[in-house]
Symmetry: C2
Subunit: 311 residues, 2 copies
């Protein structure tokens, strides 16, 4: 029997889609995240005793909470003879496009895993976290879950038998993040998408996806710059983000390799070389300001360790 009966895990925020990998790509944003503390209790079932932080107004009924649902899925699948009590500390605003619901689910399963007798692999934890996040997204996706759990830039292939692959990011690349103080529902952002992709857009987007991945594996900054452009999703969603076109153009003019919407938005991210990251950040913040949008902003390194037990 595990000697640890209580554990706290941190799971980072994440940028899903990354312009050219809708529903399959994502990278972790280690600068902010959610924390979940899990304590074993003798009775089966999951109880959420506290939710605090930037978004405390979340469902406490475990079935309706992404973190609660993820732990319920774990407990049921493993037929555990005990239950979990949990506290959630939100560091990621919901509706920000930064994978807040995914991070809570990931933190829950990582903390829960730490109090199991036989810890599971990360790929097994992924499946439980995906079941948790389905509460928020309406269906199972791994594009926020995988980077939050594994860290860095990752692609996920498959849903029922997901395979997660870490893609190396050139060391001189930074992500610039601008989080507008607006709320966007993932469901709403999904519902405005057309059900089809034009064949020509499909070809362009796949060329960009392939070029982007090859560029990352071979440190080919020119190829990353030529490829980091979304021709399918961005134009359908950008109207939900005031000033998006100006922000993006300014970021590119300041030297960004690419600039697009983080997940369902409204957060906007850019990739930039280290020596132009500050200028890109200034350009993005200034142009959001021109549209009366206040933002939080960060410059981050993309390679990071992913979710981990912190206490």
């Amino acid at each position: 029997m595990s000697s640890v009966h209580k554990a706290t895990a941190f799971a980072p925020a994440s940028v899903a889609n990354v312009a050219i990998g809708f529903d399959i790509l994502g990278f972790a944003v280690d600068e902010l995240g959610d924390k979940v503390t899990v304590t074993r209790k003798p009775e089966r079932g999951v109880t959420i005793t506290d939710i605090s932080g930037v978004d405390a107004d979340l469902p406490k009924k475990p079935e309706d909470n992404t973190a609660g649902r993820a732990l319920l899925a774990m407990a049921q699948e493993l037929d555990l003879p005990f239950g979990f009590e949990m506290q959630i500390e939100k560091g990621i605003p919901l509706g920000s496009g930064l994978g807040g619901s995914a991070a809570s689910a990931v933190a829950a399963v990582v903390a829960g895993n730490a109090v199991l007798e036989q810890p599971l692999s990360r790929i097994e934890l992924l499946k439980f976290a995906m079941q948790g996040e389905a509460v928020a997204a309406g269906s199972r996706h791994a594009d926020n879950i995988s980077p939050s759990l594994f860290g860095g830039l990752v692609v996920t292939v498959g849903i029922d038998h997901p395979r997660v692959k870490h893609i190396p990011v050139p060391g001189q690349v930074r992500a610039v993040m601008a989080h507008p103080h607006l709320f966007l529902s993932t469901r709403q952002a999904r519902s405005i998408l057309r059900p089809n992709v034009a064949m020509s857009d499909f070809i362009w987007q796949t060329a960009h996806l392939a070029g982007f991945i090859c560029g990352c594996y071979t440190n080919d900054i020119d190829l990353i710059r030529a490829s980091l452009e979304d021709v399918v999703i961005q134009d359908q969603r950008k109207s939900l983000i005031p000033g998006f076109d100006d922000v993006r153009q300014a970021a590119l003019a300041a030297g960004a390799l690419g600039c697009s919407i983080s997940g369902a938005g409204p957060t906007v991210f850019a990739w930039a070389l280290q020596d132009s990251a500050l200028a890109v950040r200034e350009a993005m913040v200034k142009n959001f300001g021109r549209h009366d949008v206040k933002v939080d902003d960060w410059i981050i390194e993309i390679n990071s360790p992913g979710a981990r037990v912190v206490a």
Copy 2:
């Protein structure tokens, strides 16, 4: 002034699309190819004096011939003060799905380049070859041109400013090729494609494309096997190839990592590990035979040098 006034170049056949990279991916098949001999002549213009080999019945008017058109494009763009006389030796049957028209265009520009005073880079030659192949395909594509010119497995990003990237293929992987004795027009095979891709298919195909490329870069055979599956194009075209479903199922049952249509077809290719390649070949040939389709068949290594001057 170049001391060489006559040169012969070989350009290999190629498999375009590679299941998951429609219009952007391709790999060279060095076992067969076209040869073009180019001789400088004092007068401007291009003259085709001979066409021989497996498909001698091709247009001799240079504007209507992929090789002729490619050299014309080169001569015009560079404003050359001389012309070219050329002989074409076809090793690749047209309408086989093996990039025959692309190979002729590539061989022409590589041979032509050898008699220039200032040889061009391969990426410059690519643009002229693409103009040549547009005669056959109806529009510019690089998915056969690039592998024929560069060799190995390559992705092409962009049309007006194409970038070509070589993707390493795990050394234990072989391609198994089965070329049915049938003719399929690229134009016909393109015309039956739907103009749109369903969003869910788009997501699956991009996941497969990303997984395939990551698998190649990291020698992850399991990921290549999970990813080498076309969910967009194959089902729309397979009716043009008698027995395709049986051939594919038999190849997979014999251990293939994946099996799909080469370019517009009717040639079918599979990827397999070296130790199962023979069984995969037998399975494919046998199942084409059950449908009364005779085939030529090869097992090839995928990494190869691309087009080159041979005399």
